[in-house]
Amino acid sequence: MRVLHLSWEFPPKVIGGIASHVFDLSRALVRRGIDVHVVTCNFPGAKEYENIDGVNVCRVESYAAGDSFLSWALRMQKNMERSSCDLINFIKGVDLIHAHDWLSGVAGIGLKHLYRKPLITTMHSTEYGRRIGIHTDLQASIHEIENWLCYESWRVITCSYYMRDHVARLLHVPENKICVIPNGVDVNKFNFGFDYWQVRNRFARGSEKILLFVGRLVPEKGLDTLIAALPEILGNGVDAKVVAVGDGPQLEEFRRMANEYGLANKVMFVGHVDDWTLRALYRVADVTVVPSKFEPFGIVALEAMAAHCPLVVSAVGGLNEIVDHEGTGMKVPINNPHALAGAILRIIRDSGFRNWIVNNAYQKCLWNYNWNNIAEWTAGVYGAVLHEYDMGSWKPT
């Protein structure tokens, strides 16, 4: 079976979460014996063609002038489509086309019709979800493209049941056309030797419990709820400190908020950190807190689980499915500092409970969020689609 993956980002070009998703998924599919070709945008310093752990990567010219991100994205995809045609002819055809989001989906629709091969699309997010509503013509246009893409796809894959409902309702997709396959995490990346105190001392005093927040500093990530919960935690005699990893437009607002609470020395904004430091931070943190107000999946939760760090999350979106309350972490209602403080205190005070949820969470990672299993489920979708395709009459002649 030969599958063409279309993605607008692929390492070393990393902008959102799609790059690492396609990177891990494509390598796991190759380990299952599927021939995977990835077509993606070019990037300074990256090779035009290369083979990474068996994945054939083809990077296409992505420069294109235009008056908006939309027109750039569309013209880039026409380049992607043209180069994919050359690639498909060179490798003598593909069995399936797998697109990721609308940023490669338009090229996928074109290729589907040119070669009459089934198109499968993973909807990682939606324009409606990203902007919390459709407010401008540009967003409406992207929304329509997403709708069109789901219509043209043989199957749509989402990474949570929450996103399945979201996509079904918003983009008018029949539910039996949507498959739910979660994102994965590679636990081995979190298993490395390092100097615990050397890392920890960079972020907090020895007596302070580290409450780790990882995410862009935007309203929907809910850092304000965590800062509002701090006084209650400190008031209960637990010395804790918020370490916020990530950058964003709301940085000054959150900083001012911490100052107003008189907690400037208890909230540390560290901005972007490199991958190694982030993984080490998960290992040294006492609790990872994900107080999001909107979250299609919540990859941060998986990373904490893989690093044996206990989790407190708000019960929204994909987080709701990843975390089992008092089983693999603690769930609290959104925008509720009191509940958040209570959950954090319980984990810090009760080490037996902490160990119980951490071990459960790690076991869940090993099975539910294992890339090999995800590749198996994805291959199952491929097989089902190819079977239906073989039974039908829509084929190249």
Partner: protein, 208 residues
């Protein structure tokens, strides 16, 4: 010869003169015993029609909202249904062991679909310029104008033969997009009796 004509206007849709030009070309081709398949972008009519031998396939753009009414995003999204319908036509003929000999694209919105068909099916394409962006938006350096010029430039490179409607337009194309293209330039003045024969001779130059 079996020709696939791609155009953004065909009667009754009229944006400019291209509509009637393409109509005349298609009917004259049919009179000379050539087979004509024609794919046209038409958001108001989506029926297949056999207009005295010309097979007219009308397709609509599935995307209705375009930021700032952008002609650029409209044209690029519309290129996909044009490709899809063209592919259907190509597979229809393949089933009968027949093929399309040449694709004839008119104006820049049809450059992207013609390129895709060339790369996917190895069908040569002839590109007719009725006007160019540099004249439509004089001295414009707006992002949309630059993008359309890039697409026209790409069409100059990818097409097998280029037809200009006048010697002056040919000179302008070479001035804008580089004199290196002179070898594939043709001037067909679409007036009089024999201009369609000139077009056919250009088809014969590139047809497989």
């Amino acid at each position: 010869m079996r020709v696939l004509i791609l155009t953004s206007e065909y009667p009754p849709k009229r944006l400019g003169n291209v509509s009637d030009h393409v109509s005349t070309l298609a009917h004259e081709l049919v009179k000379r015993k050539h087979e004509v398949e024609l794919v046209v972008l038409d958001d108001l009519r989506q029926e297949f029609e056999d207009v005295s031998g010309v097979h007219v396939h009308r397709v609509a753009n599935p995307i209705k909202t375009h930021p700032m009414a952008s002609v650029l995003t409209y044209a690029v999204t519309a290129s996909v249904p044009v490709e899809a319908e063209s592919s259907n036509i190509i597979y229809f003929y393949r089933q009968q062991q027949k093929s399309i000999d040449v694709v004839h694209a008119h104006e820049w919105p049809m450059i992207y679909p013609a390129i895709s068909l060339k790369h996917a099916f190895y069908i040569p394409f002839v590109l007719t310029f009725h006007s160019i962006e540099g004249h439509r938006c004089h001295d414009s350096f707006s992002a949309v104008s630059i993008a359309i010029k890039e697409i026209e430039d790409m069409g100059m490179w990818e097409s097998n033969e280029v037809i200009a409607n006048s010697g002056w337009l040919k000179d302008e194309l070479l001035r804008y997009y580089g004199g290196g293209h002179w070898g594939k330039m043709n001037v067909v003045w679409p007036v009089g009796k024999d201009w369609v024969d000139q077009v056919i001779s250009i088809y014969q130059k590139v047809a497989r």
